[in-house]
């Protein structure tokens, strides 16, 4: 009943404030355009556009970011299908199938199928988010300092493992570097300056938004701009919307891919990329013999599997973000950053500290999904024109956005220096094969881990180790999960590698 009243209140808010709709529509539009442009990822869109939300009210900013997130995840499919260049890495399976169809003159229908699949994927993600968030929140409320520390540690560890599948150790190192960055500044318990080297600017710590912009914006410019890869444009779009019969045919793979996308989205570090590839692979194995023959040569079912999964990932990634304060992937970390910028603290107490926010986000995601569907169809043709622009033109124009985005958060030029250094470090880490997502996640989770670790040790001062393990069963389970994550990364993968 209480939930129903809350939903009604939030619906009323949407009815009274047209800016919420405008912000969402603008976000979706920008997101689709951004995602459609080769080389400009969802994370990059999210991180650079955070700067714009500084001047917005809390609810308008959230709607804008949800719009960008939903739009940019789909946007990657447009260039993937039409010009054989995935706008975002998760659109690679869509590219394989979609471009093959486009060459046969079915590019429009391939895109229409991708749009419909994205729409369905978003719905699956939203429904599963609504169904499971109460259970996760209930569980999250049992968490104390010890469990929060272990959860943060697990978030960084699993993000490291998932974002660097070949060499998890590199993902963990990246996360540990992020932890060290998060320790810079005044310590939260005693107010002691840590690693500040007498710099007043460092006393406040390193903000994660400039780090995020540097790692995913500037580092990307440094990586992509000097490359030479001119895309070729296909001017034919053809019929766009698929028939209802065709959609009904794909109900089963849609449902399966939706669950895969949502579950993977809920695991920190495993983003839309992992979701779309995994679902595509499972889809191929499960497809009928006749359909399986088409995979790799232009399969609509392949597009459905990939697009449903990467869009369901949006809802999935919001699950740990809202319930635990641990972002499911890098774009969700940007949502978290935008929320923190507006003084919204998410986590187990979200319902107490920000009553109604969860319902607001549910409604926001539903509205963003409808806008995504409409705008995706409307924007196909302008997108074809827009992404025909070369990267050598687009990338330099993003540079002033990086500077403004980093500066706008605190109006402090020191953040621009942080962005610059993060970008340079991010580029070097990339060249040495280190993933960047665990670093960002650790910068966000570091203070939480540090404070809770020391608090937990203080609480356990006179308690024996075995008592701690026995009395705090949830903590013990989490500890085992953390240890298993490291064990799996070090020993099991080594074994698998040797076998292969």
């Amino acid at each position: 009943m209480e939930a129903l009243v809350s939903v009604q209140e939030q619906l009323l808010l949407f009815g009274q404030n047209p800016w919420l709709w405008v912000a969402c529509l603008s976000g979706v539009t920008l997101g689709i355009l951004w995602g459609a442009m080769p080389g400009l990822s969802t994370t990059m869109a999210m991180t650079l556009l955070i700067g714009l939300t500084v001047g917005m009210s809390q609810s308008v900013a959230i709607m804008f970011m949800l719009g960008v997130y939903t739009g940019s995840v789909f946007g990657g499919a447009i260039s993937a299908v039409l010009i054989n260049i995935p706008g975002t890495p998760d659109a690679v399976p869509t590219m394989i199938e979609g471009y093959a169809l486009a060459r046969r003159g079915e590019g429009g229908l391939a895109l229409g199928t991708a749009i419909s699949a994205s729409f369905i994927g978003n719905w699956v993600g939203i429904v599963l988010l609504i169904l499971f968030i109460p259970a996760v929140l209930f569980l999250a409320l049992q968490f104390r300092s010890w469990e929060m520390f272990l959860l943060s540690l697990w978030g960084i560890a699993i993000c490291g493992s998932m974002s660097s599948l070949d060499a998890p150790i590199k993902g963990w190192i990246s996360g540990w570097i992020g932890l060290m960055i998060s320790f810079i500044g005044l310590d939260a318990i005693h107010g002691v300056s840590r690693f500040t080297f007498s710099s007043y600017n460092l006393d406040d710590g390193i903000g994660f938004i400039p780090v995020l912009i540097g790692l995913f914006g500037l580092a990307e410019i440094l990586r992509v701009l000097p490359q030479k890869s001119p895309p070729k444009i296909s001017s034919e779009v053809g019929r766009v919307l698929p028939s209802l019969d065709a959609l009904i045919k794909y109900v089963k793979p849609s449902f399966r891919s939706g669950i895969i996308g949502t579950v993977i989205g809920a695991i920190p570090g495993a983003g839309a990329n992992v979701a779309s590839f995994f679902s595509y692979d499972v889809g191929r194995r499960r497809a009928a013999e006749e359909e399986r023959e088409k995979w790799g040569k232009g399969s609509y079912e392949g597009i459905v599997c990939a697009e449903v999964a990467n869009n369901a990932n949006v809802g999935g990634s919001m699950l740990p973000t809202m319930a635990l304060g641990i972002p499911g992937n890098a774009p969700a970390a940007a949502i978290l950053a935008a929320l923190q910028l507006k003084n919204v603290v998410v986590g187990p107490l979200i319902q107490v500290e920000n009553p109604g926010l969860i319902y607001f986000i549910y409604i926001g995601l539903i509205i963003a999904n409808f806008f995504m569907y409409g705008m995706a169809i409307a924007l196909i043709k302008p997108c074809v024109k827009l992404f025909s622009l070369p990267k050598a033109l687009l990338m330099p124009l993003i540079l002033p956005v990086c500077v403004l985005g980093a500066f706008a958060v605190n109006l402090n030029f020191f953040d621009v220096y942080v962005m610059l250094i993060s970008g340079l470090i991010g580029y070097v880490l990339h060249r040495f094969g280190f993933p960047l997502a665990p670093l960002v996640l650790a910068v966000i989770l570091g203070p939480l881990a540090d404070e809770n670790f020391r608090r937990a040790l203080l609480v356990f001062e006179d308690v024996g180790v075995f008592n701690v393990l026995w009395d705090r069963k949830l903590g013990t389970v989490l500890l085992l999960v953390v240890l298993y994550t490291f064990y799996d990364g070090i020993f099991r993968r080594r074994g698998r590698k040797e076998l292969s």
């Binding site: 190192i173 570097i177 002691v192 050598a392 403004l404």
Partner: protein, 195 residues
């Protein structure tokens, strides 16, 4: 078949740059040094309360585990064929550094890094702001940020896009003015160093 090649789950970020054992060994060496520094600095931090709440406690553990990871990475690199002889390590590091900056693309990238650093420093140290009255009852503002951005981005565009200077200038001017107008007039955000 193409399908077989791509059905490998890849990570959140596309790591197109495949690491070599020498690169990994160099990384392990640098990370090892960094972790030792962190351990030393965390031991030297003040301890105002009990040991359990020491500000350097988690940084110390982080430094120790990072050192362990660096050793593991180094071991993996050596097992994969990186040079083992410690006396050759400086030479190996030089080779890695040369590999990173050897091609034309890498030289262009290095130049880009220098230009971007120069751009940020220019914005930090040059500071002016003009107000131009308009008949529409508002002052159009031009700050050092816009002027510097237009010139530097035009330069970068000229280098990489290779269009005429006029074309690069017009594209940059339009984009920068649009961008700053959205931030300044749309969201009331001040430009860097204009207050």
């Amino acid at each position: 078949m193409a399908t077989e090649e791509v059905v490998q789950p890849v990570a959140e970020e596309e790591i197109e740059e495949r690491s070599t054992p020498n690169k990994d060994l160099a990384s392990a060496f640098v990370i090892g040094l960094l972790s030792v520094l962190v351990i030393v600095f965390s031991i030297r931090l003040d301890m105002p309360g009990p040991f359990y709440t020491a500000p350097g406690l988690l940084p110390f553990f982080t430094g120790c585990t990072l050192l362990l990871m660096a050793i593991m990475l180094g071991k993996q690199a050596i097992r994969a064929g990186a040079a083992v002889n410690l006396s050759e390590l400086p030479d190996d590091l030089t080779i890695v550094a040369k590999q990173l900056w050897s091609g034309e693309q890498d030289r262009r990238r290095f130049l880009l890094m220098v230009i971007i650093t120069f751009y940020v420093l220019l914005i930090a140290f040059i500071n002016f702001n003009f107000r131009i009255p308009t008949p529409l009852d508002f002052d159009f503002e031009i700050s050092s940020y816009e002027v510097i951005s237009v010139f530097v981005v035009t330069w970068i565009l000229r280098m990489f896009w290779k269009a005429s200077v006029q074309r690069c200038f017009i594209v940059t001017l339009t984009t920068v003015v649009m961008l700053t107008s959205i931030f300044r007039y749309g969201f009331g955000i001040l430009m860097p160093e204009t207050f």
